[in-house]
């Protein structure tokens, strides 16, 4: 029996509570609040307490889906990225770069959010950058 505890940060909202994952035989079986974490001081909300459930959920998306003929079809990452890039190019050529907006999120890291706005400004060429909390 291999049992270990892995400290991490709750992925739900932007607060950044410390969590401790209980891993038994390589499977995530429980979530505990990290007592010594300065942000949450050993407390969690119901979403944080149940992180292990969505990680192991059978409904979890493990690969990208492309909507074709009104239905979502499982696809590979390379294929999906090519498809998305192709469609973005078409839309930008036809309607201009301001027809595209980029929404960043509190659930991603600071660096990922930076990349998000960089992608919007430098690659697509728009200032349409907003945050999911304002939706």
């Amino acid at each position: 029996m291999d049992c270990k505890f892995v400290p991490s940060v709750c992925p739900y909202c932007g607060t950044g509570c410390g969590v401790l994952f209980e891993v038994v035989d390589g499977k995530l079986v429980g979530t505990l609040p990290l007592k010594s974490h300065p942000v949450n001081q050993g407390k969690l909300c119901i979403k944080g307490w149940n992180i292990h459930e969505f990680v192991n959920s059978f409904l979890r998306l493990k690969q990208p889906l492309i909507k074709m003929f009104g239905r979502f079809v499982k696809a590979e990452w390379d294929e999906t990225i090519d498809f998305a890039a192709e469609r973005f190019k078409e839309i930008i050529e036809e309607h201009g770069p301001d027809s595209v907006g980029v929404l960043v999120s509190a659930k991603t890291t600071n660096e990922e959010n930076y990349l998000g706005q960089k992608f919007a400004r430098a690659v697509i060429g728009t200032n349409n950058v907003d945050h999911c909390a304002r939706l």
Binding site: M1, P7, K35, G48
Partner: protein, 259 residues
């Protein structure tokens, strides 16, 4: 402590030892086994407290034959173990303990940094049941309701509780506690839990520490424990027999002491 544990692991007296280690300044629980004997030097005790008994219960449920070693960092750990033995969640013959509770630092005094508003409207975490005896119901009821109304329904009190092990929890039973409301149905949500803590709660204080709404749960469960002790002379965590609230088995144990 380290030498003792590594000796036990090498001899095969235990298969796994649950203690603490220091990881980047955080004292977190860690399982030591013969596969990672070189990590045994990291084993330490600490004032941070997690419910190691609960970890042991979960491991034992998966593999009942496993011999588990446990670090007792606080006095309540032993009481929690006694309750789990009594309720057949752990087998005392498969548990070895190292008692380090005498060296453990006392847990911080509750109620530090409490807002004055809480003193005015609610109940301070520093109170003990005796403090409430002089107060009238008309005074106490709104105070308790104020505390309960803050509940986020995070189930943290149940999830962290070392003696909560039921597969089906009454708190999630829609006939007992109505679903889909925030705050949950009060005071029934908290009273259902309080009544289930009778004869089980060992007053470790983990629920209160985990409560994001600062509800004085310990005060509530202490009172429940006092009632159990007054009525049935049952000392939760000290006694080696089933609590008077056991409804399973072939004999009824619910017998109040003669008045």
């Amino acid at each position: 402590m380290q030498a003792q544990v590594s000796q036990w692991l090498e001899e095969g007296k235990i298969d796994i030892f649950i203690g603490y280690k220091n990881l980047d300044g955080h004292i977190i629980p860690h399982c030591f086994s013969s596969d990672n004997l070189n990590e045994i030097k990291d084993l330490r005790s600490g004032r941070e407290h997690y419910a190691l008994e609960k970890v042991a219960t979960r491991i034992a449920a998966q593999d009942p034959d496993l011999k588990i070693g446990l670090l007792l960092a606080r006095k309540c750990n032993q009481q929690a173990l006694n309750v789990l033995y009594v309720w057949n969640q752990l087998d005392p013959e498969r548990i070895e303990i190292i008692d380090d509770s005498n060296n453990a630092a006392e847990s911080p005094e509750p109620g530090e940094g409490e807002l004055p508003f809480k003193k005015l409207m609610g109940l301070s975490k520093t109170l003990i049941p005796e403090d409430l005896e002089g107060l009238s119901q008309a005074e106490l009821f709104p105070r308790w309701m104020y505390e309960f109304s803050k509940c986020l329904k995070c189930y943290g009190c149940r999830n962290i509780c070392p003696v909560c092990f039921c597969k089906e929890c009454s708190l999630e039973h829609k006939e007992l506690v109505g679903p889909g409301m925030l705050p949950p149905e009060i005071p029934i949500f908290h009273l259902v839990r309080a009544s289930h803590m009778a004869g089980r709660c060992i007053d470790c204080g983990l629920c209160e520490e985990a409560c994001p709404a600062d509800i004085p749960l310990r005060l509530l469960y202490r009172k429940v424990g006092e009632i159990v002790n007054d009525l049935f002379t049952y000392e939760t965590g000290e006694s080696h027999e089933l609590s008077p609230f056991s409804m399973l088995g072939d004999k009824v144990t619910l017998e109040p002491k003669p008045i």
